[in-house]
Amino acid sequence: MQGGDPPPESPQVFRPRANRFYMAFVVSIPIALLIGGFSCYEVYRSPVWTDVSMPVAQPVLFSHRHHAGELQIDCRYCHTSATTSSFAGIPPTETCITCHSQILKQSPLLKPVLVSYNTNRPIKWNRVHDLPDYVYFDHSIHVNKGVGCATCHGAVNEMPLVWKTQTLFMEWCLQCHRNPAPNLRPVAQIFAMDWKPPNDQATQGPRLARDYHLDTKHLTNCTVCHR
């Protein structure tokens, strides 16, 4: 505690300004706690922690913007099991080769792919969307019940390297499981990258929810995602 010595002859312990220091100190404690707590809260939800909108480097410089965007290749061409299985599927090297045995054979960008194909050693991609292992997400049921790819994965067709557009926090899952209607699309639109909720989504959403037989009461059960 500062405040400096009082004049030696005085019986005072501190100088007057000590009071101000002390008071300031006392007041600062709760303020510090508040600020600390709040910043933890914010940081935990910020890209610093969640990696949202942070492109992930890949062993092959594969651009979704080029393939899905410019070339308009359908998601299912590579992610074959998205509609039928829990796991959307990562294309085997074969799939790349089907086109690239003709196109850009010589491109240095393609080298790792060719190496993989010839040496029969798989390409090790870096996961972008990685759920904890105790969460069981099933692509097929979402895709077949009106949840579009872009709803969770964002506009992949505009991403040179893919990044997360959602936090994948449990609260994020829940807000949709509690009220899916605003995000539901007609089956035809599932793979559309540019789908925006129409003006009548307020009426269409609930209707779709009915058609898909969605039971929101059930969707918030722990057992839906955790086993």
Partner: protein, 445 residues
């Protein structure tokens, strides 16, 4: 009348001197050094045990299925009941204007705090995944989840937190005037500053005393229901379940009196040696000990009643599981534990009917010590005795504490004693201002 709680020859000055001397005059007391060293040794045992615990997991203990709770919970209950004593003496007796509390309340409150520190340790340690203990706290999280509020363990969490914070505030509030006294009794510059800061610059203004007194009394008035709620909740940890021997409506009150019982016992076991060492016979008179002895006896009889009503309900309810538990407790696997409890908590305290016993500090000390043991074994019976044989005989099994169970338990005593030794050394262990008031009241009488 009043000179039974403060001896006639004491004056303001003598009181100030006697008590603050303990803090200021650091006369070489080998007793303190050795005691502190021992306490610290035990503390390091605790630290070692905890290291191994976090490294390997709770499997290092003796717990199993069906006996999934062991020493951790036993110790938790034991310590928190010890904590009860302090608050009861300082708060409840204050409300009943028991002047004899004044010279012991500071010390007992300290006992409360340190016992609470030990008690608060165990619920966390006993978790399989202590790193997630914060799940019991309601806070905004990314999971959108909350604690499960109808679980007694959540009640426990809030009870202990509340009890802890209130006790600290209450204790420190009482300290402030004494810190001011210390500030004014020393000439060492830095000590004066230290105490000046610690006492917030308290200046004994009548206007302050006015608010101070009122607030102090109201907080005391709140502390009384608080301790009762806390120990009822501890009782509910058990009564809430369907385990035979736990599922019993008597438990909450039973635990409250049990707490006062062990609280007084622990205070006696500590006060008797302390007053001998620091020659405080004039402020902590034999009369104090007698009063506490009477309380001990009274609470002991309540505990006896609790046992009786348990047995009676087992018989009266006609519940075969309860009946089996009741008989098995006294005659079965853990019969020895039962009879130790019986002797310590019920037989020995009957000695307190005799004036001679109440008047002999030594015997009092021994009886109180026995009660401390008895209360621990009693909790052992509560936890293990009921769990090890519940509904389906196929899952019955024996439990006994492992080496690490014991080391953790004994280590926690180390924590308690270390804090206690530091306290008696660096803070006035009797409330100076209140004793001064006693002197005043004695004089005007």
């Amino acid at each position: 009348m009043i000179d039974r709680v403060i001896s006639p020859e004491e004056t303001y000055d003598s009181v100030n001197e006697r008590i603050s001397a303990i803090v200021f005059k650091r006369q070489r007391s080998w007793g303190w050094l050795i005691g502190f060293a021992l306490a610290f040794l035990l503390l390091s045992v605790l630290v070692g045990s905890l290291f191994w615990l976090f490294f390997r997991g709770v499997g290092i203990w003796g717990i199993n299925i069906p006996v999934a709770w062991g020493f951790a919970i036993i110790n938790y209950v034991w310590w928190i009941e010890i904590a009860q004593g302090g608050t009861f003496i300082s708060a409840v007796l204050l409300l009943f204007h028991q002047q004899w509390r004044t010279s012991v309340n500071r010390f007992t409150e300290a006992v409360t705090l340190f016992a609470l520190a030990c008690a608060g340790l165990f619920p966390v340690l006993h978790l399989g995944r202590p790193q997630y203990a914060f799940y019991l706290m309601p806070y905004p999280n990314t999971l959108g989840l909350w604690p499960q509020f109808i679980s007694p363990l959540v009640w426990d969490f809030f009870a202990v937190v509340t009890y802890g914070s209130v006790s600290i505030l209450f204790w420190y509030m009482g300290l402030v005037p004494d810190l001011a006294t210390l500030r004014d009794r020393t000439d060492r510059k830095y000590l004066r500053r230290l105490y000046s800061i610690m006492s917030f610059g308290w200046r004994n203004s009548a206007r302050h005393w006015n608010h101070y007194e009122t607030t102090y009394k109201v907080i005391a008035a709140l502390a009384a229901p608080l301790v009762i709620s806390v120990h009822s909740i501890v009782g509910l940890d058990f009564a809430y379940t369907i385990v035979p021997g736990w599922h019993s409506t008597i438990f909450p009150p039973f635990f409250v009196v049990g707490a006062i019982f062990s609280g007084f016992a622990m205070v006696l076991t500590l006060v008797i040696p302390v007053r001998a060492i620091y020659r405080l016979h004039n402020v902590i008179t034999d009369n104090h000990l007698r009063n506490m002895a009477k309380m001990l006896l009274a609470m002991g009889m309540f505990v006896l009643f609790g046992h009786f009503s348990e047995l009676f309900m087992a018989w009266f309810s006609g519940d075969i599981y309860d009946q089996y538990h009741a008989t098995h407790e006294a005659l079965g696997t853990y019969a020895p534990v039962f009879w130790i409890t019986f002797v310590c908590n019920i037989v020995l305290i009957q000695l307190l009917w005799f004036k001679y016993v109440r008047h002999s500090p030594v015997i009092l000390f021994l009886v109180a010590g026995a009660v401390n043991v008895g209360m621990w074994t009693e909790r052992y019976l509560n936890v293990v005795g009921s769990l090890h044989r519940d509904y389906l005989p196929s899952s019955w099994a024996i439990y006994h504490g492992s080496f690490w169970d014991w080391s953790t338990f004994i280590g926690s005593m180390g924590l308690f004693l270390t804090l206690l030794f530091l306290f008696v050394r660096f803070l006035p262990l009797v409330s100076i201002s209140e004793v001064r008031r006693l002197v005043y009241e004695r004089d005007i009488e």
